[in-house]
């Protein structure tokens, strides 16, 4: 059940209506059942994994709270880590691990040493695994207390708006919201629906349209020119941003309608002035998760230690995205870029100051350079194989040729949505919340803007019902 399907909107309308009709004490039951139903619409059998994860961490939480012995607490944390990461490994990484080990064994003249497991990747497993891990790690660190209500804890793990692709919500932010009685709030509902509308616009008007061009080029790598690869890589940068941030807006907006606040996941990342800033603006719930639970755990030290830790963190961040060498290289490249960015920041500032570059020009140069550095990494992310990556880079060293222009005027259609996105981002950079600014306008202007977005979706949206990219992670 995709957020941009009629099915979802019918389901959502029903859940919202029942949620506010039911007494507060029964609402968690409704939301939990709705969340499980939502998940089962993809693969009912895999609900067992969520139940397993929920059960293990619930019990670990209670046991951890019952003891102050550090050794016992550490052992309980190990149980949680083993159970959750074990599930993740089996269902997400086993095939990758096995194929590489078997390839190595083949080189050594051995047979297949790792058996194959033909299992489908459970939707959202990387997200809810990290979410529930944050609970046990925070509990271990003494940041939060245990959740003793099994139903509420289960709802935290499975809350449907953010179950399959985040934001990866922290227990300390979400669990306290569940017991709070929520009255129907008209303004809150409007705000949530407006955010959902904006997310839907980004998904179907921009991301799904650009996908047509990106798929045509990246789906047939040897046949295209460097100019096409360049255009397709730019297009993919905006496709993945609009796809994922669109999903996040739908999730955050949907939760808001139901009375819950989820963390912000994107903040205009392509306006970043360096790669460090990019990761403060891109997939914020993952980058902060990696920072809090991985990077900080690797210890502190001099510049070399910082660079090493950044590289390790991003290597694992890349692997989190997908079980393939492309994602590993993507993560490593980001680690290197982050390390380089951190270590040269002061020097670059000094150069700009010495040259007397005006701040607006400096910002423009920095944004353009950062965007292109990130765009290079997207080639690894999007290419269907490492071989394709090298083919693309090799093409850039040859005459660039003519760009591929498809008969469907894909890029022309996408430019409609991209223009709206550009205006929205400029408004947000200057005024903060775009919706707050719109809210101050007279009614005809406000309605005009919402109608504009709605009819853009109707007239310019791609009606393909394609998946969100991050559902595969």
């Amino acid at each position: 059940m995709l957020f941009h399907s009629v099915d979802f909107w019918a389901f959502f309308a029903l859940v919202v209506t029942l949620h506010f009709l039911l007494p507060h004490a029964a609402r968690w039951v409704l939301l939990l059942l709705a969340s499980y139903f939502f998940y089962m619409s993809w693969n009912a059998a895999y609900l067992i994994l969520i139940l397993l994860s929920t059960g293990v961490d619930y019990v670990v939480g209670l046991r951890m709270a019952a003891t102050s012995a550090q050794r016992a607490r550490r052992r309980l944390l190990a149980v949680s880590l083993t159970a959750n990461l074990g599930l993740l490994f089996v269902f997400k990484y086993w095939g990758f691990f096995g194929s590489n080990v078997n390839a190595l064994a083949g080189l050594l003249g051995m047979g297949e040493v790792v058996p194959r497991l033909d299992v489908l990747l459970p939707v959202g497993i990387s997200f809810y695994t990290f979410q529930t891990l944050s609970y046990t790690i925070d509990l271990y660190r003494g940041v939060i207390g245990p959740e003793r209500h099994l139903g509420r804890f289960a709802l935290y793990v499975a809350f449907f708006p953010q179950l399959v692709a985040g934001p990866i919500e922290r227990a300390r932010a979400f669990l306290p919201q569940i017991p709070v009685a929520k009255r129907f709030d008209y303004d809150r509902m409007c705000s949530g629906l407006q955010l959902m509308l904006w997310g839907l616009f980004k998904k179907v008007v921009i991301a799904d349209r650009l996908a047509l061009y990106v798929d045509a080029v990246y789906g047939n790598v040897p046949q295209h020119s460097a100019a096409s690869y360049l255009l397709a890589t730019y297009a993919f940068a905006f496709q993945i941003y609009c796809d994922f941030s669109g999903y996040s807006d739908l999730a955050i907006g949907g939760a808001r309608v139901l009375g819950f606040d989820l963390m912000k996941n994107f903040s205009r990342p392509f306006l970043s002035m360096n790669v460090l800033e990019f990761w403060r603006r891109w997939h914020i719930s993952l980058s902060t998760w990696l920072r809090d639970y991985l990077y900080y755990s690797l210890g502190r030290g001099d510049n070399w230690v910082i660079m090493r830790n950044l590289t390790i963190t991003m290597f694992l961040g890349g692997l989190w995205h997908g079980a393939s060498w492309s994602f590993v290289l993507w993560g490593l490249l980001h680690g290197v870029l982050l390390a380089a960015s951190a270590s040269t920041l002061a020097a670059r500032d000094g150069i700009y100051r010495r040259l007397g570059v005006p701040s607006w020009l400096r910002r423009t140069i920095a944004v353009v350079i950062t965007f292109h550095l990130i765009a290079i990494t997207w080639i690894f992310f999007r290419a269907e194989s490492i071989g394709d990556v090298w083919t693309i880079f090799a093409a850039f060293a040859q005459p660039w040729g003519e760009p591929f222009i498809d008969s469907g005027r894909t890029l022309l259609h996408a430019s409609w949505g991209l223009s709206v996105l550009a205006v929205a981002h400029l408004v947000q950079e200057r005024h903060g919340s775009g919706r707050a600014l719109i809210g101050k306008q007279p009614l005809p202007v406000r309605w005009g803007i919402w109608y504009f977005l709605m009819f853009s979706i109707v007239l310019f949206g791609v009606d393909s019902g394609s998946q969100f990219i991050y559902f595969q992670f």
């Binding site: 399907s5 009629v6 099915d7 019918a10 008209y186 798929d215 045509a216 080029v217 789906g219 047939n220 046949q223 295209h224 096409s228 591929f404 008969s407 469907g408 005027r409 022309l412 259609h413 409609w416 309605w447 919402w450 109608y451 709605m454 009819f455 109707v458 007239l459 310019f460 949206g461 791609v462 009606d463």
Partner: protein
Amino acid sequence: MSVQTGGRAARVVGFVALFALLDAGLGSVLGGLAEYADPKSSPLGALEAAKANPDMDVLVLGSSRANHHIDPDLLGARLGMAVHNAGVDGQGIVFARAVQELVWANGIRPQVFVLQLQAFDVMTFEPERALVASRFLESMPATRATLEGEGYNVKVKLTSRSFRYNSLVLQLALNRLRGQPAAAQDSYVSLDGSLGESTAGPEGVPGRWTSDAREVSPESLRVLGGFVRAAVEAGSQVFVVTGPFLRGGPVLPSESAAADAIARVTSEEGGHLITVDETTHPIFDDPALFYDPSHLNRQGAALYTGILAERIAAGLDRAPAGVEGAAAEQAGGT
């Protein structure tokens, strides 16, 4: 109900009502520009062009494989008849039925229908793709019934007056500015370049369509049966034709089952089946005739159309309808 609650409820109702009004208005404005839809790249353009061509003797229908494979000028010259190709990328049997109903509703009576169909066309049933025809649903009772039978998901989209122009606004506006109505243009587009030179991706490779061993869709067969039956009852001849792929492997059992089902339904309803593919004509094993594994290039299309013309001509001379195909081809050779 408090004054504030009442005011908000009224505002919500007003917002929805104005949306409906704007939807109708936009639909009306865009409907006035529909004749500017491009028949070579949009289903709406193909529909507009088909209903604007009263002189056609032969109407070619189907997906991109009709659109790119059957050259109407060449076929027309060989048959001595006026041929109109209304094949559209990504469309299938439901859309073909829609075009058939539309031309009849406009008083156009083709003597011959040529429906380009493949096994995979009856291994899926995606009638919502034919929503692009919703502008003309009043003239298409069978198509309308098929679409409305798809449940509320499709009904919601049918309700909108502007959604039927989805992805067409820029095309309509640009062609209006250029003053280029579709008139009776054809949908046929030849593909230049051969496999290995073209920018076509590997999508559409037969193995990809059939490797999941999907079963034949009874709904697709029902629509196919309705298409053939209606045409025969109207006094037209129907040729269901299957074309070549550049095949990387053997024909899968699921694909054979689907091809058999097409043959059976076509025969039962009084149509002719013509198979001109790589199994009956080994010349289509040549990659130089293909733009991508599923589409012939200009040279391949010319060859294919020529063979098809001979087979259709033979079929038109022969009064009783029957299943032709692989056996006849193998016996006769080409």
